[in-house]
Amino acid sequence: MKFLIKNILRIIPVLFIISLIVFLLVRVTGDPVSLMLPETATDAERAQLRESLGLNDPLYIQYFTYLGDLITGDFGESFRYNQPALGLVLERLPASFGLAFASMLVATLISIPLGILSAIKRNSFIDLFITGGAVLGKAMPNFWLGIMLILLFSVQLNIFPVSGTGSLMHFVLPAITLGTAIAAEMTRLIRSSMLEILGQEYIRTARSKGLLEAVVVNKHGFRNALIPVVTIMALQTATLIGGTLITETVFSWPGMGQLLIQAVNLRDMAVVQAATFIIALLVIISNLLADLAYRYLDPRIKYD
C-alpha cells in the first residue's frame, strides 16, 4: 500500500514534465486555422478565426491557461468535432485498449513457447529459425504486415474480415499485426532471460533432484525468467500503443490511434494533448501494474 502511494506520488512530476512536453510540442506548431479553412479562404476569414480561438495570446499565458484547465480535467474542445477533447479520447479508449490487449495476448502466446524453445535448443536449427523469424518479425513494419495479412487471410483465403470492428474475428488480424513486432522483441528477451536462468545454480539443483527436464524448465526456469520479462512487457506498452497508430489506420479500427493521426494532421491541438496525456497515463499505469506483478512474482521483493 505504502509502495502504491509512493509510486503514485512519484508520477506527479512526471505528469508535469509530460504536460510541458506536450504543450511545447503542440503549441510551437503553426496555427490550425489554415487547416480548418478551405484553400480558397481569405486572409480576413483566417484572422477572424485565429482571434476567436485565442491563439494570439503569448505562449506562457497559453501554457498557464492550459495547465489550469488540465488540473480541472479540461483539455479543451476539439476543433474538428466541437466536443470536449477528453470525452472524444475516452470514447475511443476501449477500442484501442481492446486491440492492445489482444495484441499483447498474441505476443505472449507466440513469444513464450518460442522463447523457451529457442533457449532450450540453443544454437540448434530451431533456435536459428526462431531467431531469424524474430528478426523478420521485427524488420517488418506494421503497415506492411497488416496489408499482407489482409491480402492473404481475407482476400485470398477469406478467413477473417478485412477491417473494422464487430466480432472477435475482427480482432485476429490487427492483433497479429500489432503483436508480431512485440512478440519478436519478447521472444528474444525470453530467450536470453531463459538462457541466463538456465545457467543458474538452482537449475542444476533442480536437475540434481531428478526432475523431468520439462519441470525444470517450466517450473524452475520459466517462473524466474518471467520476472524480467514482465518489466519489459510493461515497457512495451508504449511501443504497443504507438503501434496502434498505424495498425488502426490499416484496419480502420476506430480507436485512439486514428483519432490522433487525424487530430495531428488537422492540428486539432486539444485532442492531441488529451490523447497524448491519456496515453502517457496509460503507460505509467501499466508500468505501475508491472511493478506490482513484479513484486508478486519475486518473493525476494514481496516479503521484504
Binding site: 487547416l35 480558397t40 481569405t42 503497415f143 485470398q156 480502420s252 479500427w253
Partner: protein
C-alpha cells in the same frame, strides 16, 4: 551452411507470401464477393475519411456532405439545366436584393415536426450571422430571412447576389429543425441529428461508421434501401480489399493501381466520372522570380504533357483542361475545356528567348498525399521540365505544413494545388486571381480581369455574367498565373449488381443507386 539455408528458407517464405497475393491478380479469382441482388436491402459504402460532423454549417468537407445529402434537403437542387425544386416548391427574384420562396407542403422532419419557414429562417440566419462557422463566408451575403407565413419567406441579401441559388443548393442550406434544436440544444442535435431527408440517423461510431435507415415518412419517392452504412476506411488497399471480399458494396477513391484488380474481379467493376477538382500549378509573378516572365510561364505550360501524366498515373482517367471553371459550373468556358498545350520544342525556344537557354532553376512545392497521385505528378513534371532545360527543385510537404505555407503565402516560384468548387459558380473559382486576393501569392495583376470579375460579382443578368467570366478565363489561360493541368476524375469500385453513376459534385445520393 545450415544457417544460410535457414535464411534462404525464411526469404522464400516471405516471397511466397507476396507471390500468392500477386498471382491472384492474374487469376481474376480474387475475393469471395457475390453480386448484389434484389432482396438485399442494405447498402455499405466505404469512404476514405470519416464524416466530420453533423453540424452542416461547420465543415467544408465534400465527403461529409456526400453523406448528409441523404438526411437533409436543400431548398433547391442543381439540375441538368439550372435549378430544380427540393424543399422550395417555387421561387422568384423580387428585386436585386430580394428572393421570394414557397415551401413544399407537408414536409416532416424525422422527429415528426412539420417543416415551416421558421426553420428556414433559423437555419440560414445562423450560418449568415455566426462568424465562427466554417461556412459563414459562403452565406454572409444573406442579410435576413423574412417569414411571410408558414410556407412563404423572403431572403434579403446585402448586395445583389447572382449566385444565391448556387449557395442554396449546397451544404450550408440543409434545413434544420428549429424547434428541436431550440428545445433540446445543439449537443443533443449533434448526437441525434434530425433532417427532412429520405434517411434517418441511426448511429455514428467515429472513425468507423455512420448508419442511416429508411425514413418511411419521406415526402418524396420512397427510400430504396432499408439501411445504409458509410464506413470510414482510410487505407486505400484495405478499402479495396473490403470491396473485393464483399465487405462493402461501393468503395470511393479507388487508387489507380487497383483498377485492374477490381475490373478483373468477377463481381466488381470500376465507375468513374469527372469532379470539380482541377489540378494546377500556381506561379509567382513577383519581380525577381523567373516565372514573372510570361515566356517562361508559357514554356512551363508547353513542356508538360498533361495527358501523359493522366495516362501513366491515373490510367487515363481525368480530363485535360485550360480552365478551372469546368462544365457544370455557371460561367464555364467550354472552349478551354478538354484542351491542352504540349510542345516541348517551342518551350525550349521560348526559354531561349527569355534568356534561359543555358538552363533555369525553379522550385516547386507540392503536397504529399493530399490529392490523387500528387507526389508522383510532381515527380513527372520535374522530369518533363528537365527535358526542356528547367531544373526543377521539388519540395514536398505533408498537408498541414503545406497548408501553413499556403496560408502565409510563402511558397517560392510555384506550387501544385488542386482547387475544388462547391459553389458551381465561376465567382469562387476566379476570385483568387483578382489583384487584391492575388497579392503576395501570385502577384497577378490584370486590371481587365479585375474589372470583369468585379462586375460579374453582382451582375444579376445571368447570360451577361457568364460572358464576363468566360472572357476572364481566356485572358487567364493566356497569361498563366495558374497553369491548369487536368480535372480529376472520381473513381469508385462498385459491386456489379448495382447501378451507380458518379456525380460531378461527388455526392452519394443512395436512392440513385439501385440494384440491377
Amino acid at each position: 551452411m545450415k544457417k544460410l539455408l535457414t535464411f534462404g528458407l525464411l526469404f522464400v517464405l516471405v516471397f511466397s507470401l507476396v507471390a500468392c497475393s500477386s498471382n491472384s491478380s492474374t487469376s481474376g479469382d480474387e475475393g469471395s464477393v457475390e453480386k448484389k441482388t434484389e432482396d438485399d436491402k442494405e447498402l455499405v459504402i466505404a469512404t476514405g475519411a470519416d464524416m466530420v460532423t453533423f453540424d452542416i454549417h461547420d465543415h467544408n468537407t465534400t465527403s461529409t456532405e456526400a453523406i448528409h445529402v441523404n438526411m437533409f434537403n436543400y431548398l433547391v437542387k442543381r439540375g441538368e439545366d439550372g435549378f430544380d425544386p427540393d424543399l422550395a416548391e417555387s421561387w422568384e427574384n423580387v428585386d436585386d436584393n430580394t428572393w421570394k420562396f414557397k415551401l413544399r407542403e407537408g414536409v416532416k422532419f424525422h422527429n415528426g415536426e412539420e417543416l415551416t419557414a421558421d426553420d428556414v429562417k433559423f437555419t440560414l440566419e445562423r450560418v449568415a450571422n455566426d462568424n465562427k462557422l466554417l461556412e459563414h463566408g459562403n452565406y454572409s451575403q444573406i442579410k435576413e430571412v423574412k417569414v411571410i407565413n408558414d410556407l412563404e419567406f423572403e431572403i434579403i441579401t446585402h448586395q445583389p447576389e447572382p449566385a444565391l441559388l448556387n449557395r442554396l443548393s449546397r451544404l450550408g442550406s440543409g434545413i434544420l429543425p428549429s424547434k428541436y434544436i431550440e428545445e433540446e440544444g445543439w449537443d443533443k442535435f449533434l448526437e441525434n441529428p434530425v433532417g427532412t431527408g429520405p434517411y434517418k440517423f441511426v448511429e455514428w461510431k467515429k472513425d468507423d461508421r455512420v448508419v442511416i435507415e429508411a425514413n418511411s415518412d419521406y415526402f418524396g419517392e420512397a427510400p430504396k434501401w432499408n439501411k445504409v452504412t458509410f464506413r470510414a476506411i482510410p487505407e486505400d488497399s484495405t478499402r479495396v480489399s473490403e470491396l473485393l471480399t464483399g465487405g462493402v458494396d461501393i468503395a470511393t477513391n479507388l487508387p489507380p493501381s487497383d483498377w485492374e484488380r477490381v475490373k478483373d474481379n468477377e463481381a466488381t467493376e470500376v465507375a468513374q466520372g469527372p469532379t470539380q477538382r482541377v489540378m494546377m500549378l500556381v506561379l509567382r509573378q513577383t519581380e525577381g522570380h523567373a516565372t514573372s516572365d510570361p515566356k517562361v510561364r508559357e514554356a512551363i505550360d508547353l513542356a508538360i504533357d498533361k495527358q501523359a501524366i493522366l495516362d501513366s498515373l491515373m490510367e487515363g482517367s481525368g480530363t485535360v483542361t485550360r480552365t478551372r471553371v469546368t462544365p457544370g459550373n455557371t460561367g464555364a468556358n467550354e472552349d478551354l475545356y478538354g484542351k491542352t498545350l504540349y510542345d516541348p520544342e517551342k518551350a525550349k525556344q521560348l526559354l531561349k528567348e527569355a534568356g534561359y537557354g543555358d538552363g533555369l532553376e525553379l522550385k516547386l512545392s507540392a503536397p504529399n498525399g493530399r490529392y490523387l497521385k500528387d507526389k508522383e505528378s510532381a515527380e513527372l513534371i520535374q522530369a518533363m521540365l528537365g527535358e526542356v532545360g528547367i531544373d526543377l527543385k521539388l519540395e514536398f510537404l505533408e498537408w498541414s505544413s503545406f497548408a501553413d505555407k499556403y496560408a502565409s503565402k510563402s511558397f517560392d516560384d510555384m506550387f501544385l494545388i488542386g482547387y475544388g468548387n462547391s459553389m458551381f459558380d465561376a465567382a469562387l473559382a476566379l476570385d483568387r486571381l483578382s489583384s487584391k486576393q492575388a497579392e503576395g501569392e501570385t502577384d497577378y495583376n490584370n486590371p481587365e480581369v479585375d474589372k470583369l470579375l468585379e462586375e460579374a460579382m453582382s451582375n444579376m443578368n445571368a447570360e451577361e455574367r457568364a460572358k464576363q467570366y468566360q472572357k476572364a478565363q481566356e485572358i487567364i489561360a493566356e497569361e498563366r498565373p495558374q497553369i491548369y493541368l487536368y480535372q480529376l476524375d472520381a473513381v469508385y469500385g462498385v459491386n456489379k449488381g448495382l447501378n451507380f453513376e458518379p456525380r460531378l459534385d461527388e455526392m452519394l445520393y443512395v436512392d440513385d443507386i439501385t440494384v440491377k
